[in-house]
Structures are given as C-alpha cells and as structure tokens.
C-alpha cells in the first residue's frame, strides 16, 4: 500500500474515532457503557427507555451527522473549486455561495419578520434555512450567468465576477445590518460564526440526500479535474468537456454548500484550508485530494463542534471560532514546515 493510501486509511480511522467521541461526550457526561446502551436501544429497541436517550440520540446524534455532512460538503467543494480554478485561494465563498446564503439569512432575520409576519408566526424555524439556501443558489447561478456572457466561461473572468458579486452581497448585508435592531444584529452575528446547536433530526433528514448525492458526484470528478490541471487546451485535446465540468462543479458546490450553510450558518476556514492541508499531505493528485478532503472536513468539524460544546459548558462557543482557532495555527505550522523543507 502506498503512502497516500495509508494516509487516507489513517484519516478514516481518526474520523471514526472522533465521531464516536462526538456522540459519547458533551456537556452532560454519561459512562461509555450508558452511551452504548442508548445507541443499541436506538438501533434495535428494547424494553425500557434508557437514561440519556433524549440527549444522546435527540441532541448529539443529529449534530454529529450534520457536522459530518457539512465538513464533507465544505471541504469537498473547496477541493473541487481549487482544482477548477487551479488556484489555491479558491473556496466556496468565491462562487458566491457564502455571500448569497448570508444575504438570504440576513433577509430572513431582519426584513422577513416585518414583511411577512404571518409566515413567521407559523413556520419561523424553516424560513431562515430556506432563504439562506435560496440566496446561495441564486447568487451562484447569477455569478455563473454573468461569467458566461462572452459565450464560454473563462475561469479567470469568473473569479473577478465573483469578487464583484460578493462585494454587492456585502453591501446588501451591510444595508440590512444597518436596519436591524440589537437582537437581530446579534442573531446575524452568531449565524455568521456558524453553529450546529440548532440541528434537529428533521433538518438532517431533509439535507442528507442532496448532500450525499453531491459528495458521490464529487468523487466522480477526480479524473476530469486531474485532466483539467493540464490547462484548458490540453484537457480539451484529451477529450474533456470543459464547459460541462465547469457547470457541474458550480452546481455541486452551490447545492451541497448551500444546503449545509443554510442550516449551520457560515463556518469559516474549512472550505479553504482543509483541501490545502490534504494537498500538503498527499500531493496534487485529485485521486487522493478529493477523498482526503471528504474525510478531513468532517473530522475537523465534528472535533471542533465537540470542543465548542465542552469548553465553556454549560455555555457553547460558535463553531466557526473553533474551526478557525484550531485550523489557522496548524495551517501556518504546516506552511512553515514546507518552507523549511524547500529551503534545505
């Protein structure tokens, strides 16, 4: 077995371990045997309801599952985009997903209650995710539409369009923030730092299918993305349908990241840095980069969420703070290591 494959196996094993910890630990501590009993009960049933069922299966399990989905979606999307742009600075924010979702969320938090109070009275819990997802999707599609105006999508042009569209999104957000009251502003601030605290089973059930489908399709992009690294000309000569690849990547990113951001809020760092970390470990071959990102992303998020839940218990930290706090220094350290190696 080669080194890269070994690394992937190690990642998978660590992910498994972290997921178990995510289920077993939290603000309330149960003995591991109790956690096991609860999980067995949840899977096969039993006579009496074990203690902790509501907490472990009702609260923790959906967050851990959503954490895995979100981590895979963000990191996978980041890996695909960095491949498509052949630019290490690409992340899901670049194609407008995050900005669009934030516009949708700000609208749902600040303007929505004023213009459609009746809908809020009935469905307040669903409005925000729905708007955030719609925002993510429509802004991404708009961006793609603009970059296509010359006939074909030029990647560099798309990048610049992304900057313009994101700037417009932040103007809209700023405008709504200006109109907001104290409470709404706080809500939006917390939304933009991400959290898995509000994840419930129905939410996980709704988004898991589209996200999993996107993730599977991302694995199918391994060969096309590898070809694409030869440059557009070269890839076309080798029979790659470049237009289709661009479209597929953008759609997959919009749906998978849009769906999870809608529920978790903006979680920084993962989409940009996890694919990098993987590339620093396994090289540039997408055969390893994409599966690696799909494993490391969930690992980072589930671990960060565990820390967010435990560190200041009974309070809770915003998830985006923790992902940044553990990720950024680690990333810096890896870069320094690489520099050192290069200068030797």
């Amino acid at each position: 077995m080669n080194r890269e494959l070994l690394l992937l196996v190690a990642l998978a094993a660590s992910l498994f371990l972290v997921v178990l910890c995510g289920i077993a630990y939290g603000a309330i501590s149960y003995p591991l045997s109790q956690v096991f009993k609860v999980l067995v009960y949840a899977l096969v049933g039993g006579e009496s309801t074990p203690e902790g069922l509501g907490i472990i299966v009702g609260l923790r399990l959906p967050r851990v599952l959503m954490g895995m989905l979100a981590g895979a979606a963000l990191a996978g999307a980041g890996a695909c985009l960095q491949g498509l742009f052949r630019n290490p600075l690409a992340d899901p924010g670049l194609v407008g997903v995050s900005g669009g979702a934030a516009v949708g969320a700000a609208f749902a938090i600040i303007i929505g209650p004023v213009v459609m109070p009746l809908i809020y009275a009935e469905y307040s819990l669903y409005v925000l995710p729905l708007f955030a997802f719609t925002g993510a999707l429509s802004v991404t599609m708009m961006l793609y539409g603009f970059s296509r105006m010359g006939g074909q999508v030029v990647v560099a042009y798309m990048l610049l369009t992304g900057i313009a569209i994101n700037a417009m999104a932040s103007v809209l957000i700023g405008l709504m923030v200006y109109l907001s009251d104290d409470g709404q502003l706080r809500d939006f601030t917390f939304w933009s730092m991400g959290s898995l605290a509000s994840i419930t089973w129905p939410a996980v059930k709704v988004v898991s299918l589209p996200i999993v489908v996107c993730l599977v399709l991302m694995i199918g992009l391994i060969r096309p993305l590898n070809l694409f690294q030869l440059g557009e000309q070269g890839a076309r000569h080798l029979g790659l349908n470049i237009g289709l690849l661009k479209k597929v990547v953008v759609v997959l990113v919009a749906i998978s990241v849009g769906a999870c951001v809608a529920l978790t809020g903006a979680i920084g760092f993962v989409g940009l840095v996890v694919p990098h970390l993987i590339r620093l470990m396994v090289g540039t071959d997408h055969q390893y980069v994409i599966p690696g990102a799909l494993l490391l992303g969930p690992l980072v998020i589930v671990l960060a969420d565990l820390i967010a839940r435990i560190w200041v218990a009974p309070g809770e930290l915003p998830l985006g703070l923790v992902t940044g706090a553990i990720g950024a220094p680690f990333f810096l350290w890896l870069l320094l290591q690489q520099q050192k190696r290069a200068s030797l």
Partner: protein
C-alpha cells in the same frame, strides 16, 4: 390609577395564585436564568437558592456571576442547559436560538418566557410574576410595596408637575466611527420615557448617528454608560472627542454617566435609575429620600 396600581397587582397575584398552583413543594426548584433582570429579581425576593446557572448578562448582584454560565441569551445550548438538570428555564422573549424551544420541549423541561419590561409598571409586573413562579409571592409583594412602588409613585406624581421636558441624547458607544445612539423602541427610549425626558433622536433602534446631526440637535443632556466611558479611557477622553466641543451639554458638564445594567437592564434597579436621573434634569422634583439600592451615577 397610580395609587391603585399596587392593589391591582395584589388582586392579580391572588387570583393567579388561586387558579394556577405551581407546585414548588414537592420537587426542588432548579432554575437556569437567561436574563440579567430576572436574576436580579430572584436575588431581591430571596429566591437565589433556586438558581443553578445564569447567563452572561447576569452581573448584579456580583454573586450572580458566580453561577455556571450558560453563555449569551440568544445563543443557548440545549445540552449545556440540561447538564445542570434544571427544573425550569426562566428567560425573556429574547431567548434563543429559536430551535432551542423544540429541543427543550422534547426533553420535557419547563421553559417560561416573560415579556420584556418597558416601564416601571412592567418591571413591577415582572417581579410579581417571578414571585408567583417560585412561590415567593409574599416576598415579592413585600419588595414591591416597600421599595419599588413608592419610588414609582413618587416619580409619577412628581413628573406630573414638570413643565419642560429636557431633550436627551443617550449614547451606547463612542469607540469607533459614529457614536451609537438610542432611538425609538429601545431600552434607552423606555428609560427616557420613565424619567420624563424626550429623546433627541428620531430613528428606530440603536444606530450610528452623524456627529453633524448631533450638533444640530444640541441635546440638553448626554447620558453615557460606564462601559462607554471605560472603553474610551475615561470621561476626559470622552470630552476630548472633537464633536463634544460643539455640544453645549458637554461644555456645561451636563454629561451623565451611569452603570449600564442599572440604567438599562429593566430590573428593579431601573426604577431607581429613572428616579435618580430624572432628579438631575428636573431639579424641581422633590428629593425622594433614601434610595434603596446602591446609586448608579458615576459623576461627570
């Protein structure tokens, strides 16, 4: 209506107590409190022994922050709350995130959300309601009757005599960019209403205000919280902010500095804060006598 308020409150509480028997006798009450004013009230009516946790806005009395912290009221964690095995989670309408109510309902914990108080009457209602929730009605009535209601009545009657209401500017922050002023529908506005003053600011909410507009408005008084002063570095630094040179209120030392939670927390102490601040800009108000709580004015 003013003098009858207490009687009305007593009638309400008796009828509530008859209809609604909250059984605090059988199980120990363990309350996780999400709201500084609620914590304050629990302490004032001697029910602090029921508290198992408080939120980050619960900083009065100082002992209130010794409990485990459940964090910020809008960002609570269901499992974190449950780890304290509370029998009741007591909060105000700003509790969140929204999903937490479904989560707590599934775990069968009682959650009580009170409306935010916006007036002295509202504060007194809140005290009575909490007295009823924790089965300390007698203490709540006593606290209201001996301390809050006399202050409320004094202030209400005295304000009837007032001829001219001052124009006041209440600022929250002067740290970066334009100062943040209290507009309509904010706790700042409600306090000014209680203290017989008009807000110079017309817009809604806490918003940055242009310094030029401030100069045009020329408030009679400027109210700042002690936090604003300490983050700015002191009252001297605040007075050195360029716009202050053009504000008569600042030049004539009509800047009032008060403890933020005392002034705007809308716990019991806010009634006293209104009385205290009103007597600054309405010198014709007959002094109330001994104020029950530690005073909040920091000089200025």
């Amino acid at each position: 209506m003013n003098s009858g308020y207490l009687i009305k409150a007593v009638v309400v509480f008796v009828s509530l107590a008859l209809v609604d028997s909250i059984c605090a006798e059988n199980k120990p009450v363990r309350i996780a409190v999400a709201g500084g004013s609620l914590t304050e009230i629990l302490f004032f009516i001697g029910a602090e022994e029921y508290i198992v946790a408080t939120d980050s806005t619960s900083n009065f009395p100082p002992k209130a922050s010794e409990f485990p912290s459940i964090g910020y009221v809008r960002n609570l964690s269901a499992e974190g709350l449950m780890s304290l095995s509370p029998s009741l989670i007591l909060g105000e309408e700003d509790m969140g995130p929204p999903a937490i109510f479904d989560q707590l309902k599934a775990l069968e914990v009682e959650v009580i959300r009170l409306d935010k108080a916006t007036s002295a009457e509202g504060i007194i209602d809140k005290v009575m309601r909490i007295g009823q929730i924790v089965d300390r009605q007698a203490e709540a009535v006593d606290f209201v009757a001996s301390q809050l209601e006399p202050m409320r009545q004094h202030l209400a009657t005295e304000l009837l005599q007032v001829k001219r209401r001052p124009k006041v500017l209440l600022l929250l922050s002067m740290n970066s960019g334009a100062p943040i002023a209290a507009g309509a529908k904010t706790s700042g506005q409600f306090l000014l209403d209680m203290a017989g003053a008009d807000n110079v600011v017309q817009f809604e909410g806490w918003k940055p205000i242009s310094t030029e507009a401030l100069i045009a408005l020329q408030p009679d008084y400027i109210v700042l919280t002690d936090r604003t002063i300490s983050t700015a570095g002191g009252i001297k630094q605040v007075k050195n902010i360029p716009v202050m040179a053009y504000l008569e209120a600042a030049q004539n030392d009509r800047i009032i500095i008060m403890d933020g939670m005392y002034l705007l927390g809308f716990g019991p102490r806010t009634i006293q804060a209104a009385l205290e601040i009103a007597s600054i800009w309405h010198p014709e108000i007959i002094p109330y006598g001994a104020l029950p709580f530690k005073r909040g004015v920091k000089g200025g």
